[in-house]
């Protein structure tokens, strides 16, 4: 109860500080917090239990009961549940102008001492209509001013001050994830993973091409790609779950260095060395951090977190295999056994990849270099 008092004192102070005129508002003890996430809404009303009960009794035509203020929490909770129909009549939860019927849950917590009020917490929950764009709220069980705080997805809460009975302004919901099925989530993140490589991930494409160029046999290509996949899956998962965190300012230049290294090794060596697969694994760890940064920017639906993570990773894998498949289609397996293959394909292609990657390295370390480049 002390915490509630402190919270109310802070709220009062905030409202007074923000008031443009030298007057104060009569702010009550009611608070409303609305959360929208993964296609569902949860609205929590905290209010003085006995004053709510008195109003509900009054509307129901019951005589005013002088003992209501002294009723214990358990009895009060049971009485509130019996008045559910009456309670709903003065609460409006609407999406795009259409009222919805929430599920209700009543909880009454005992007063901390004999002089403190008993507080009721009423939770209204339900699914948002598909494609809902705006939410409107009104609550007519209080005469005093109260705060409606809205949390949409992972965004910070916004607060609107309302008078009892006043309808809120339509609150946009466009930032929240709409209600979507697991199949839709899986398909969406598979595509996002794939397009993160083709066409958006030129750096990752060049890295995979670098692996392809020096591998004489299909088995060695697949071994390297598999090592790369296992590694980036590990860091992608760990990073998304928040177990590791490396700034993108560090990750992105190192990814460029890894591409340059693979290309330079292709130029300097004519055949694969045993350490290559270990290096590819290490670079995979690095690229996984990069994928995690991209995935974090895209956002993960909380309800389908694992589905989205796995399908994004699968999409990345499909993108890499598509790059290798395209390279095989262009160069052809037969060419790889020709004497001119190294001179005409591996060296020039690796040179281009190395130069590009070195440029990216500088660009990612010093953004002003790219600014200078565009100015020139």
């Amino acid at each position: 109860m002390k915490n509630l008092g402190r919270a109310i004192a802070c709220v009062i102070a905030a409202v007074v500080a923000s008031s443009p005129v030298a007057t104060a508002h009569e702010i009550g003890t009611t608070r409303v917090l609305a959360r929208f996430e993964d296609g569902r809404y949860a609205i929590e009303i905290t209010t003085d239990a006995s004053s709510l009960m008195e109003k509900l009794d009054s509307v129901a035509g019951s005589p005013m009961d002088a003992t209501t203020a002294r009723t214990d929490a358990v009895t009060m909770e049971k009485r509130l549940v019996t008045r559910d129909d009456a309670f709903r009549q003065r609460v409006t939860v609407a999406f795009d102008g259409t009222e919805t019927r929430p599920e209700t849950h009543y909880a009454v917590s005992p007063a901390s001492d004999a002089l403190s009020p008993v507080i009721a917490t009423i939770r209204l929950t339900g699914e948002m209509p598909r494609g809902a764009s705006h939410f409107t709220w009104s609550y007519s069980w209080t005469f005093a001013s109260y705060a409606l705080s809205v949390t949409n997805g992972g965004a910070a809460a916004t607060t609107e001050w309302l008078e009892g009975g006043q309808a809120s302004a339509p609150i946009p919901l466009t930032d929240s994830a709409p209600a979507i099925s697991r199949t839709t989530v899986a398909w969406r993140y598979l595509l996002l993973g794939f397009t993160h490589i083709i066409p958006h991930g030129l750096d990752h494409m060049l890295f995979v091409l670098g692996l392809f160029l020096l591998s004489g046999r299909l088995r060695t290509v697949l071994a390297q790609v598999s090592a790369f996949t296992v590694a980036h899956s590990i860091t992608l998962g760990l990073s998304i779950y928040g177990l590791i965190s490396v700034p993108s300012a560090v990750v992105e230049p190192l990814i460029a260095v890894s591409i340059a290294y693979v290309a330079l090794e292709n130029l300097l060596l004519s055949e694969l060395k045993p350490w290559r697969i270990a290096l590819v694994f290490a670079f995979g760890l690095l690229h996984g951090l990069g994928f995690a940064g991209a995935l974090r920017e895209l956002g993960l639906p909380r309800a389908e977190f694992m589905t989205a993570l796995l399908t994004f990773n699968a999409g990345v894998e499909a993108g890499q295999l598509a790059v290798i498949g395209a390279a095989f289609a262009i160069v052809g397996w037969h060419c790889r056994s020709q004497s001119w293959y190294r001179q005409r394909i591996v060296v020039p292609a690796s040179l281009v990849i190395a130069c590009t990657a070195l440029y990216w390295t500088v660009e990612r370390i010093a953004p002003e270099v790219s600014a200078l480049g565009s100015w020139l």
């Binding site: 009550g28 005013m64 009975g165």
Partner: protein, 269 residues
């Protein structure tokens, strides 16, 4: 002469933005040494919401007993807004004077407000001037409550606290029985206010309201038919001075007390 008017409880989305405000003590009949919660309530027909203690809103918050005037103490942000300790026998007068609050009302709501509070003079003035628009009202509260420790004599009655608009019970209601006549005087800036609507509401049956217009001495006689908690209230409105940032200034006086049930020695609200 007071009249009985029956109303239906209005607790709708079309509720006014300025409501009654009153003091509701934890008990009107405390025991010696008892700490009594002083709750502030805003609402309608004695259905109220708690107003926690707000230093920005409080202009004066005190209690007057036989020993003098003492502040009502409390923690900021808390409901109940304050506490008093009842030490000396007699009638305690709790007073709460708020700072002004500004409310902007639509034409419909402002006209409804004037009609409900019996502010006919303001409505007539607006009509003469052809004012049909909404209005900014700077309202403030002048609330009192009578708490009796022991059974005080009639001489230990209510007293004036010097509020801008004030209801003063001219007889000690705690010594009254149901059905007896309670004279109440309404003053504005310590002068009798004539022609104002004074309304009395009982907690057990808030739908039945007693109402009367104050006479030239600012007095109304209310025959209170029931025991239990009573709220007597009146509103006075004047034109706002040019610097007020409002069109009208209103004062909301309230007085709460209890008429005891003679069949029991002690009761609570």
């Amino acid at each position: 002469m007071c009249t009985l008017i029956a109303t239906t409880l209005v607790l709708s989305s079309a509720s006014l933005l300025a409501h009654d405000m009153w003091i509701e003590p934890g008990t009107f009949s405390p025991s010696p040494g008892e700490i009594v919660a002083v709750k502030l309530r805003v609402g309608q027909d004695l259905l109220g919401d708690p107003i926690p203690r707000d230093p920005a809103l409080i202009n004066q918050f005190f209690v007057v007993d036989g020993e003098g005037r003492k502040p009502v103490v409390g923690r900021d942000g808390s409901d109940p807004a304050g506490f008093i300790r009842v030490a000396a026998p007699g009638l305690l007068v709790v007073g709460y004077r708020s700072n002004p609050s500004l409310v902007q009302l639509t034409p419909e709501k402002f006209n409804q407000y004037l009609a409900e509070e019996g502010l006919d003079a303001v409505a007539a003035l607006r009509a003469r001037r052809g004012q049909t628009g909404g209005a900014r009202d700077l309202f403030s509260r002048c609330a009192k409550s009578l708490v009796a420790f022991d059974v005080p004599t009639n001489g230990q009655g209510d007293r004036s606290l010097g509020f801008t608009l004030e209801l003063v019970a001219e007889r000690n209601p705690t010594t009254m029985a149901a059905g007896e006549d309670l004279p109440v005087r309404l003053t504005y800036e310590n002068q009798p206010l004539a022609g104002a609507l004074v309304v009395a509401i009982n907690r057990a049956n808030p739908k039945e309201k007693l109402s009367a217009r104050s006479d030239k001495d600012g007095r109304v006689h209310l025959r209170l038919p029931r025991t239990g908690m009573w709220l007597v209230k009146a509103v006075h409105m004047i034109e706002a001075p040019p610097t007020a940032g409002a069109d009208w200034v209103s004062y909301w006086a309230s007085l709460t007390f209890e008429i005891r049930d003679r069949t029991s020695t002690r009761s609570t609200s």
